[in-house]
C-alpha cells in the first residue's frame, strides 16, 4: 500500500519539508503520507503497541470471566457509540452534531481498548476488529439500552444518553480501583469523558424539559421510551458477581441508588415526571448480558459490519 505516495515522499529532500507552518493543520498530514502505517483505517492494531493491554490476568481470576466482562463493557460502548453516530448529518444544529460525534468517538475509543483486552486475554488470535466486525448477534453482551433506536428524535436521544452516561459513569468510578490494570486505566480516562457526556445530556434535558410545551412533550416521551430498559442496568450476571467479589469488576446492583438519585434530580429540575412503567423482562432468565437482544440489533450490525464483511482485511 501507499506505493505512489511512498515514492514521492522519498524523492522529497528533507529541506523542503523542514519549514513548519504552525497555522497549517494539514501540513503534518501531507508530510507523513509516505510511510507504510495503515493510518485512518480500521486495523491499526491497538494491541501490539498498548502497554497495558497485554498485562497478565490478575491472580485468581478465570480468564473467561475477564473476557466476558470486557465484552460487556466494550459492547455497551461500541453499540451505543454506533447509535449516537447515526446523528451525524442528521442533528438539529451543527454544534450538536459535533457534540454527538465527539461523544460517539469517546465511547468508540473505550470500546476499542476493552475489545483489544478481551481479544488478548482470550488468546485465540483474534483482535479488536474481529470482535467488532465478525461476531454475530448472540455473541454481543451489551444491555438493551445501548441498542435502543431513538428514531432520530432528539428528546429520545438525550434521554438515552443521560441514562447511559449516568450508569456508565457510576460503573467506571468504581472500576478506578480494579485489580485489572486495563479496566482501571480505561476507567481512569473514561470517568473524565463520561462525566462530560452526562453533563451535556443533563443540560439538554433541562433545556428541553423546562423549555417550550413541545420540547417538554418530546423530552417526556423520550424518558418514557428509555425507562423500561433501566432495570436491566442493575441486574448482576454470574461473571459480574464473581469479578466484583474478586476486586476486578463492579456489581451493577451496587450503583442503583446513585444512578436513581442523579436521574431523579435531573428529571425534577427539568420538570419531567419519573415514568411509572413496567421494566422489560427477561426471556428464559436471559437478557443482553447473556447474548439475548432485541430485533433492532440485526439491523444495527448489518450497517456497522457491512464494510468489514464486504472487504475483509481492507486497509487504505
Amino acid at each position: 500500500m501507499n506505493a505512489h505516495t511512498g515514492t514521492s515522499h522519498t524523492g522529497t529532500s528533507h529541506s523542503e519539508v523542514a519549514e513548519h507552518d504552525p497555522t497549517n493543520a494539514y501540513q503534518s498530514l501531507s508530510e507523513t503520507v509516505g510511510h507504510d502505517d495503515p493510518r485512518w483505517a480500521f486495523g491499526t492494531g491497538v494491541e501490539d503497541v498498548q502497554t497495558e493491554i497485554v498485562a497478565p490476568v490478575p491472580d485468581g481470576i478465570d480468564p473467561a470471566d475477564l473476557v466476558a466482562y470486557c465484552l460487556m463493557l466494550g459492547d455497551d460502548a461500541l453499540i451505543c457509540s454506533h447509535r449516537i453516530s447515526e446523528w451525524v448529518a442528521n442533528a438539529p444544529e451543527l454544534e450538536e452534531e459535533v457534540a454527538l460525534a465527539n461523544i460517539a468517538l469517546d465511547l468508540l475509543g473505550q470500546a476499542r481498548l476493552l475489545l483489544a483486552r478481551a481479544a488478548h486475554v482470550e488468546g485465540r488470535g483474534r483482535d479488536e476488529d474481529d470482535l467488532a466486525f465478525w461476531r454475530t448477534e448472540a455473541e454481543f453482551r451489551h444491555v438493551a439500552l445501548a441498542e435502543l433506536d431513538d428514531q432520530l428524535d432528539f428528546g429520545h436521544a438525550i434521554a438515552r444518553l443521560l441514562v447511559f452516561s449516568t450508569w456508565r459513569l457510576a460503573l467506571l468510578q468504581r472500576l478506578l480501583g480494579s485489580r485489572d490494570p486495563v479496566l482501571a486505566a480505561v476507567a481512569g480516562k473514561g470517568v473524565k469523558e463520561v462525566s462530560y457526556h452526562r453533563d451535556y445530556a443533563a443540560r439538554w434535558l433541562l433545556r428541553l424539559g423546562d423549555g417550550t410545551a413541545e420540547s417538554h412533550l418530546r423530552a417526556q416521551a423520550g424518558v418514557h421510551a428509555v425507562w423500561p430498559y433501566l432495570e436491566e442496568l442493575f441486574r448482576t450476571s454470574a461473571q459480574e458477581s464473581r469479578l466484583a467479589g474478586a476486586g476486578v469488576g463492579v456489581d451493577p446492583a451496587a450503583v442503583r441508588d446513585e444512578v436513581t438519585d442523579v436521574l431523579t434530580t435531573v428529571l425534577g429540575q427539568a420538570t419531567l415526571e419519573l415514568p411509572a412503567v413496567a421494566p422489560v423482562g427477561l426471556l428464559g432468565g436471559r437478557s443482553g448480558r447473556q447474548g439475548l437482544h432485541t430485533e433492532r440489533l440485526g439491523h444495527l450490525l448489518a450497517e456497522l459490519q457491512s464494510l468489514a464483511r464486504q472487504h475483509p482485511g481492507a486497509v487504505w
Binding site: 522519498t10 528533507h14 504552525p22 507523513t32 491499526t44 465511547l107 459513569l169 478506578l176 462530560y196 452526562r198
Partner: protein, 185 residues
C-alpha cells in the same frame, strides 16, 4: 535518504531532541512534548533503537495514529532505523500536563488555554481520588475564559464540544469573534 546520517553514524541528534520537535497533528502550534503526551524517550542497547512512550488525550482521539507515524518518521529521518512507539493509558492525561510554553502557544494562536485545575491530594496531571460521584453541573459554569484575540473577559459558550476531541467552542461578547477553548479536564 541520501545525505541523511545513516544508522550508527556519529553526529545523530539526540532522540529526545528529535521527539521534542514533533508537533501535534491537529494543533500544530503545540509540540507533543508541550501537549504533555510524551511520557518517555529511551535509546536501547545498540543505540539504533528508540522507544517512545506516549499517552492519548482522549480514549478515542483519532490523532494518536498520526502521532505514532510522525514520531517514527522523524526518528527514522534522524538516523534511528528502529523505532517503537508504545501507548500507555495510566496515569491518564489531563490538561495539567500541558507545559507553560504550550499554554502560551495555544493563546498566541487563538485557542483559549485550559485553566489549571486545583486538585487536593493529587499529583499534577493525575486524576484526583474522588470519594463521591463527579459533580453534576446543572447550572452554567462560571465563564472565566478570556477571549484569546481581544482579551475581553465576557465570553460565552457556543458548544460544549469543538472541532477536535479536546476543544469546546466559544464566542467573545466584545469583539464577537468565535474561538476554540481547550476543555479543562
Amino acid at each position: 535518504m541520501t545525505g541523511r546520517p545513516g544508522p550508527g553514524a556519529s553526529g545523530r541528534p539526540d532522540p529526545v531532541a528529535v521527539v521534542a520537535e514533533v508537533v501535534d497533528p491537529e494543533m500544530p502550534m503545540l509540540t507533543l512534548a508541550d501537549l504533555g503526551v510524551v511520557r518517555e524517550v529511551r535509546q536501547d542497547g545498540d543505540d539504533d533503537t528508540v522507544t517512545v512512550t506516549i499517552t492519548p488525550t482522549y480514549s478515542g482521539c483519532p490523532a494518536i495514529d498520526a502521532m505514532r507515524a510522525d514520531l517514527r518518521t522523524r526518528l527514522n529521518e534522524a538516523g534511528y532505523p528502529r523505532v517503537t512507539v508504545h501507548t500507555v493509558l495510566s496515569p491518564p492525561w489531563s490538561t495539567d500536563w500541558i507545559s507553560e510554553r504550550g499554554l502560551r502557544a495555544l493563546a498566541e494562536h487563538g485557542i483559549a488555554p485550559p485553566a489549571r485545575t486545583v486538585r487536593v491530594g493529587a499529583e499534577p496531571g493525575r486524576a484526583a481520588a474522588r470519594s463521591g460521584p463527579v459533580a453534576l453541573t446543572l447550572t452554567a459554569p462560571p465563564a472565566a475564559v478570556r477571549c484569546p484575540r481581544c482579551g475581553a473577559a465576557a465570553t460565552e459558550e457556543l458548544s460544549r464540544f469543538g472541532p477536535t476531541a479536546c476543544t469546546a467552542l466559544r464566542r467573545c461578547r466584545s469583539c464577537r469573534e468565535p474561538f476554540e477553548h481547550m476543555k479543562d479536564i
